[in-house]
Symmetry: C2
Amino acid sequence: MQTYIDTYKNMRKRLNAYGYAMWVLEWDLETDHPTGAVDYRAEQIEVLSNEIYALETDKKYNKAIDYLYENIDKLDDLLKREIKKVQKELRLIKKMPKEEYIDYQVLLSKSTSIWSKARENDDFEMFLPILEKIVAYQRKIVRYLQTPELKGYDVLLDLYEEGMTTKEYDVFFEDLRNELVPFVLTATSGKKPLSRKLTKNLFPLYKQKQFNMYLTDVFKFDLTHGVLRTSAHPFTSNFSSFDVRITTRYIENSIESAIFSTIHEMGHGIYEQNINPELKDTNLATGSSMGIHESQSRMYENMIGRSYAFWEAHFDHLKEIFDKELKNVTLLEFYQYINRAERSLVRTEADELTYPLHIMVRYEIEKLLISGKLKAKDVAKRWKRLYQQYVGVRPKDDKDGVLQDIHWAAGSFGYFPTYALGSAYAAQIYYAMNKDFNVENAISDNKIEKINAWLKEHIHQYGQSKSPKELMLLATGEPFNSKYYIEYLKRKFSS
Amino acid sequence: MQTYIDTYKNMRKRLNAYGYAMWVLEWDLETDHPTGAVDYRAEQIEVLSNEIYALETDKKYNKAIDYLYENIDKLDDLLKREIKKVQKELRLIKKMPKEEYIDYQVLLSKSTSIWSKARENDDFEMFLPILEKIVAYQRKIVRYLQTPELKGYDVLLDLYEEGMTTKEYDVFFEDLRNELVPFVLTATSGKKPLSRKLTKNLFPLYKQKQFNMYLTDVFKFDLTHGVLRTSAHPFTSNFSSFDVRITTRYIENSIESAIFSTIHEMGHGIYEQNINPELKDTNLATGSSMGIHESQSRMYENMIGRSYAFWEAHFDHLKEIFDKELKNVTLLEFYQYINRAERSLVRTEADELTYPLHIMVRYEIEKLLISGKLKAKDVAKRWKRLYQQYVGVRPKDDKDGVLQDIHWAAGSFGYFPTYALGSAYAAQIYYAMNKDFNVENAISDNKIEKINAWLKEHIHQYGQSKSPKELMLLATGEPFNSKYYIEYLKRKFSS
């Protein structure tokens, strides 16, 4: 037994070091990397990927994993989680013939750039052959990975949110459909005019940067273990809790874009920074799941960052910095501006209230595609119909319709639902935290560290050593329940 | 034979990919990396270094290299260079016992931070034990690597400048001593007052950045295959000709610091960008030697960037940007300011004229240390005496004396002389280029691309496929001769 454990741990250390290198190479690509070196870089990445593939398929290593998986009940809890995870990750490599596996990787390496071109040209037909192939592969992956307990689309859902199945998502989205779709139609019908200072002004980038640096201090995002940079699309990038990097994007005619991007990414980032450093040599030193991750980013962005209490504490400082630009703008005007809700076409620009409806559309379509009840060629049409039905608007083109997201082109099916789930988790976690201390007071007293500490204790520290279901039970005392989310949205957007 | 060649080439491809990853990791450390993750990073680097060590000491690979080296005359020219180089690089690993090798690496991993502390505290005694150990290791390295043809300090000199020995350096420095030491004393004795606008003004960073971006265009530094960023100390970082990164440093009370740092690093960078892309999978895709590299950076910085012709072309644009700061400053005043010469203590801040005298001091001391004629404990005293003798000033402390440079702490003995050699190469190369076209006209016509093209054809393209001696002969038609350098300096600083 000990020999197998040593074999596993030794290889884990090596794989982590390779993973770290690949992570920095990816960060570099997204930030500094010059365009003319893309091919050269790809050649080096290919060689390194082969090195990693060789390690992952190493016979001694795989024998050790098989043995440990067969004797999993004899392992301590942490190693149990590690072995389950690695076994799950290696399933596809083991079951899919190598050639098929490589063909699929090659397809994915090209698909996003074709999607990007198709999107630019508003040309769904250009993307269709790729989509068809990717859907066919997803259905194959399902067949390779399915078990008596987990079948069809559930196989994919489980890849992104351990333990969540269509059964549970159906209930969740059914609740949203019943409660939220009619509510949104009412809440977004009467529009109040917004302050022109907020909608028409320019906000100099150096002032925006100053305020965003101030925010890292407000939220206690640790810059000795983190980086805040600028990139085309905001993202969080991390490999260990010691080094967590976030980016934001500054837009001169928007005062809110960078602010809420930064807060959103800090939510992801603080989660990662708070993970127990003792997990560093395992494969568990990252957030538990996509849904739990998104619950943190959305709680920070929406429930904290867009709250009235938050701006009671910080609006004066914002006005100090934007002395000319925000002259005579009131706190209430600003609050209403950053919480305006409207039915719109593009997910990434959607407000907090309508956001989950965008996800519902994608969930429905994925479910139908994987079951075979919908053909790829009919996706664009179905997209338009579902947008009308759920969001209340009908896309005029495919650019801001079915082609708006990269996910399907990247082979990510089963990922979207976690975005809506994250917001719903957040409401339930916030509710539980509020029983321990008055969260709104902590926000208006500029004591976000109290929130960070509670979340660290109840969620963050565990990394992947606990599943999302275990975490929700541990942090909130009950299984996931969508009612907190629906109540939160209705309360906020009724007032 | 072909099997051995295949074994070598296959491993080269793998080693290049690892080298690429380590290069990006190093760039990341120097730019984005947060301070709190240094230990975590070191653990990953250690694992990756072990992976690389295992590849480099792989038996099949080493057998292939030995075989190819024994049959080197049967190889084509390129492979001949490759095998010579790799054989040279592997000598130390092969000859030094593994434990001693690792001990030395551990010493080096700590020595620079101790040096840094000693420097801060102006405490040579704190650094002395480290210096003693490093000198002892250098002497050991010499014993491991020496051959009947190459002995003593020459072994180290050859590591940085292939084919250069004390015999040649002694002649070079002797010439400098005879010609330059007395000349400098005269040239720096009568000081003219400089425009207070240049010495006392502040130059806003955003304006400096604007002018430095303009310079990348003037010099045709290719930003699709390069990066210009800010860092604490300017440097050039590259692994292939496809991706060459330079940094500069902006100082608010100096108009010239960033400009000449950028031009200097562009000299290095353009060299690397111009290397024949077909060398990419070899170990030869980088500059030929330290000296040749420095010849390019110093030619761009001093002979082009500090020339009157250059500012005839660009001073108007500089004045446009610094409209208030440079009001009423004349081209001549600016030219005199950027070419002021004075006897000073710190090498990195020395001007073009006195710079080689700083190097002479270091060369003398290294030679004596390696031969055993000077003890480490007596270095600080000797330093002061030689500064008085060569540069004409006497350091008051060790901080700006013997402790000013990182090189010895990093185990780099034999490196310094290449700095002076680089300037001397540059003068000879410039002289040869000027026979093919009027270089000054190209500069004042803002046609630096003509210079780039000539250097690409005669030097850059070859990378390490030719030795520095071969390149000098090829580019200038004669072996290295210091007279061009001395003539250039005397002409420029007499006027």
